[in-house]
């Protein structure tokens, strides 16, 4: 084997710091080969090793009676009873989606789906959280519009063809995402508890089998790319982005599930980030075994590929599995039936080393556990979270000239307008489980045919809140996810998270990450929704400008199968109740609201105050209300506060509301303040709801009544908002498409 010292430049271009290289020398007891250098580079990248976040992620709660599989596997699994579990996880594909939006987003969907079916679970639902720069942006608007269209069609292309419904998600626009869009994809699948598969290379002498697409030169160093900031020449990294084939993935799904049923498979892992490298090393290191691989046997799309390229390729739709020796043919039969390539590429050993040969010559020989588990771990310095905006607004919030016009401005803004242009491009009804798809209810709901029960999912984030206070902002997101689930009657049970942050080597950015993780830990413990997995995406900066700290939280809840409570008012003459009361708001707590953003074009202050104990009682009351079938409609108050919640409740069926309030608050705060722990409920049985709320010490106010076609809000007889629903709905419904049209 070649053993020569690599120049500092070569080491640096592999993203390895001098002390990290020293550690490699220690582990190997010699200089690494070129292939080994590549292997260490990807395995020790931020993306694969979580070296900046690992220390802090340990603070997260990960256990409960329902958690069957916590963090560390391809996906988390929770018990849903009757011998079944649901596997779910979220993954980001931020960097590739900026460089090549269509393929970047498509392969993001592909990657998370493989994480789910690798475990033996059939994917049942996808949700996605998207962050873009504003389409209206003077400089970057046209590019942002292209990214929006590319990302949405990429998700649509992959998910629709694969045959998994995309049932929900959220889309937010902020200038900080101009050079750094976020594409976070959540997927959930169903698995029998005794048929869960793990990425474990068990059994010395067992064959290691490669299945799926051939290996090409695409995506080499994708994981390293995701672990660095963007610079002006990042566009030249386009060859690093992989190309997805959802048809291949669909075949892979069916073949894997069928092959698992043969009982001949002992371990399986998808080849995602860092491809063959990551799958071989992780499968062996998890169980302390070794693996020997001959690269000549790896199906290759191109000729003349070097071992370095084969090991680092991130070609999509590939899996690595270990079969029981002597039963390989059962696996091969299944893959042949589905027309897929399968080849024995190696064998499990008891040497605890990953040995890679090419044309019979050893090109890498590394102790598996040290490579996987002794990746550098950093306690990076962290100071106070980065922020440049003031807590106190320099001048008081100006009195609104026309609150109805303000409401129209907000509901037709990028964040708050209807996203139907996006989700109508996603097949959200395939698999015939979708009980509440996009925008129908506060959470997406699918039934589980196997158990006769249902699962609700909520995906949420709020970069503004987290920028103003990462810890409190993150807690507010967890609270909102749990509230969304409670509104449809589901009991929140487990969490997955995607932590999207800037450069952790900057102490003020690291401080955001640490505070956010601590907030996540605190809230997940309090709401009893342990974290079963997730993803960390750092270095989301372009030319030194970081994104807002953007944790995206996905929480799943369990419920019985019955028609979920929707957002829209359903009939006239119903009482409208505000569960949780009118809420508090002052000028400081108004600075992160949608009103501040869309109407004042400003940002200051702190996020709304969250009282977690109170929030929990509100949610408990809500679930009780739904369980007793008392709510005709229900919608939580979130972005845009009471006024937006009322508007959104009016849009689906054109049934509006006449609201009479009694409050000392400024009208702007009263209508648009975003205090949490509040839910608008329309009902024919207000007395029983009041009784339930009283028993839990939750205030509930009867604020008005549903009426046909109009939305009117008064405070102490002073009209604040008076409008026809339709004049509000039309700009809301058409805003996104108009913005995109204006850029064509």
């Amino acid at each position: 084997m070649m053993a020569s010292a690599w120049s500092p430049e070569v080491i640096a271009t592999h993203g390895l710091k001098p002390d990290e290289y020293e550690k490699i020398l220690q582990i190997l007891g010699r200089e690494p080969s070129w292939t080994e250098l590549g292997i260490f580079s990807v395995m020790w990248s931020e993306h694969c090793s979580y070296k900046s976040s690992r220390l802090h992620l340990k603070k997260l709660p990960t256990r409960s009676k329902l958690v069957l599989q916590g963090p560390g596997e391809n996906a988390g699994i929770i018990d849903i009873g009757q011998g079944y579990g649901i596997a779910f996880k979220i993954e980001s594909h931020n960097h590739p989606s900026f460089i090549e939006p269509f393929q970047g987003a498509a392969t993001g969907v592909g990657g998370i789906l493989r994480d789910i079916f690798t475990m033996g679970a059939r994917p049942l639902a996808v949700l996605d959280a998207l962050r873009f720069g504003p389409i209206e942006d003077a400089q970057a608007g046209a590019r942002n519009a292209r990214i929006v269209e590319g990302v949405v069609s990429g998700i649509s292309h992959y998910g629709n063809c694969f045959g998994v419904p995309t049932v929900g998600g959220e889309t937010v626009f902020e200038p900080c995402y101009n050079g750094n869009p976020l594409v976070n994809v959540f997927a959930l699948g169903i698995v029998k508890q005794d048929e869960v598969y793990y990425g474990k290379a068990i059994g010395t002498g067992n064959p290691v089998i490669y299945v799926g697409a051939k290996t090409g030169r695409d995506g080499i160093h994708g994981a390293s790319m995701a672990s660095a900031e963007f610079t002006e020449d990042s566009q030249q990294k386009r060859p690093n982005v992989q190309v997805g084939d959802p048809f291949m993935e669909k075949l892979l799904l069916e073949a894997c599930i069928e092959a698992m049923r043969t009982g001949a498979i002992v371990g399986i892992q998808d080849m995602g980030a860092a491809g063959l490298t990551c799958s071989t090393v992780e499968m062996a290191s998890r169980v302390g075994t070794g693996m020997e691989v001959e690269l000549d046997n790896v199906p290759q799309r191109e000729t003349g590929m070097t071992p370095y390229e084969i090991m680092l390729s991130e070609s999509q739709e590939r899996m690595l599995l270990v079969a029981e020796k002597g039963r390989e043919h059962e696996v091969f039969d299944v893959f042949r039936k589905w027309g897929l390539e399968a080849a024995t590429v190696g064998v499990v050993t008891d040497t605890a080393r990953t040995v890679v040969r090419h044309h019979g010559v050893i090109v890498a020989d590394i102790p598996s556990r040290e490579l996987a588990d002794e990746a550098p771990l950093y306690d990076r310095p962290h100071t106070t979270p980065y922020r440049v905006h003031p807590v106190e607004r320099l001048t008081p919030v100006p009195a609104s000239a026309d609150l109805t016009a303000d409401l129209r401005t907000i509901v037709s803004s990028g964040d708050m307008c209807s996203k139907s242009w996006i989700w109508e491009q996603y097949d959200y009804t395939v698999r015939t489980n979708t009980m509440a798809g996009p925008a129908q209810a506060d959470a997406a709901v699918i039934r589980i045919k196997e158990t006769g029960t249902s699962v609700a999912m909520s995906l949420d984030g709020n970069g503004r809140y987290c920028y103003l206070d990462p810890r409190e902002g993150t807690k507010l997101i967890v609270a909102e996810c749990c509230r969304n689930l409670s509104v449809v009657g589901a009991l929140p049970v487990a969490t997955t998270n995607n932590l999207n942050f800037g450069n952790p080597e900057r102490p003020e950015i690291m401080a955001q990450l640490v505070a956010s993780i601590e907030g996540l830990a605190e809230a997940c413990s309090f709401f009893e929704v342990p974290v079963t997995g997730g993803n960390v995406s750092l270095y989301n900066e372009t030319l030194g400008t970081p994104i807002f700290p953007s944790p995206v939280i996905g929480i799943v809840g369990l419920m019985k199968t019955e028609a979920p409570v929707g957002i829209g008012f359903r009939s006239e003459g119903r009482d409208i109740l505000l569960l949780g009361g009118l809420g508090e708001c002052d000028e400081v707590r108004f600075g992160g609201t949608q009103y501040a953003k869309a109407v004042l074009d400003d940002l200051w202050g702190l996020p709304p105050v969250l009282d977690m104990a109170f929030e929990k009682r509100v949610q408990q009351a809500m679930r009780q209300i739904v369980a007793e079938g008392l709510a005709e409609s229900a919608h939580d108050l979130a972005d845009g506060g009471l006024a937006v919640a009322l508007a959104e409740s009016s849009f689906p069926n054109g049934i509006g509301a006449r609201i009479e309030l009694d409050s000392d608050l400024l009208p702007e705060f009263l209508l648009f303040g975003e205090a949490p722990s509040r839910i608008v409920v329309s009902t024919a049985t207000p007395e029983r709801i009041q009784q339930i709320a009283a028993e839990l010490f939750v205030p509930v106010i009867r604020v008005g009544v549903t009426i046909g076609g109009h939305l009117e809000v008064r405070n102490r007889n002073l009209p604040l908002i008076v409008t026809e629903v339709e004049t509000l709905r039309l700009p809301w419904a058409g805003a996104l498409e108009e913005k995109l049209e204006s850029r064509r």
Partner: protein, 223 residues
């Protein structure tokens, strides 16, 4: 009574069709693998939605060469009931069992939504249990559902009462809002909307049952 559900590589509504037949209308169903040359003991055949063979080249263009399609053609020629939904409709058109073509949607985007579908004729084994002019609420989910045929073919379809379903408003650019058509023998139906997705009250609509029940009872009567 048993309904066969063909499985092509890339079919993704096969499970849904199977579930609707077995659970929502209470009949037997059996999967038929794409490379089999026989349909087995089935009384009717559903070609389900999806992306058969990745829909490479053109939707349904590769599936038409699949071994099972020869069996489907013979079955149809003998009067067997064949229903193609979404990708199944595209395959039937490519296979020449139905006239016309399905082009990319007018907006050039995939469309998923529940739409109004008018029953344009009840004179068929797939619609006889519905009312003439009845409006069904049924989901569509397709990128290429824009029905196109020459004017004289469209005239002929209408003259022969072979338009089975029409959208109540433009959805994808289809000529004359055609959502589903019958062959000359009226035993082959192609439709873009998904009746199997509107077969359970939990899914928000059970209007698709009118189609599935028509099919099932037609088979029973024929037997």
């Amino acid at each position: 009574m048993k309904i066969g559900v063909v499985v092509f590589p890339g079919s993704n509504c096969d499970h849904d069709a199977w579930y609707a037949v077995t659970h929502n209308i209470g009949h037997q169903a059996a999967y038929i693998w794409h490379d089999s040359t026989k349909l087995g003991d089935v009384d009717a055949v559903i070609l389900p939605g999806g992306f058969s063979y990745g829909d490479y080249l053109r939707c349904g263009a590769i599936a038409r060469f699949s071994p099972v399609m020869s069996a489907v053609k013979s079955f149809a020629a003998e009067g067997g009931l064949v229903m193609g939904v979404c990708n199944g409709f595209q395959i039937l058109v490519e296979a020449g069992l139905l006239p016309g073509a399905l082009l990319r949607n007018a907006g050039l985007r995939f469309i998923c939504k529940t739409v109004g579908v008018e029953v344009a004729t009840t004179n068929s084994p797939f619609t006889h249990a519905a009312q003439q002019g009845q409006i069904l609420r049924v989901p569509v989910a397709h990128g290429e559902g824009n029905y196109f045929a020459e004017g004289r073919i469209l005239d002929q379809l209408e003259a022969e009462d072979r338009v089975a379903f029409r959208y109540t408003e433009p959805v994808n650019g289809s000529q004359r809002n055609i959502a589903g058509i019958l062959n000359e023998g009226r035993n082959v139906l192609g439709m873009m909307p998904h009746p199997e997705r509107a077969a359970d009250p939990l899914m928000g609509s059970t209007d698709g049952l009118a189609v599935l029940r028509s099919l099932a009872s037609a088979v029973v009567v024929a037997k």
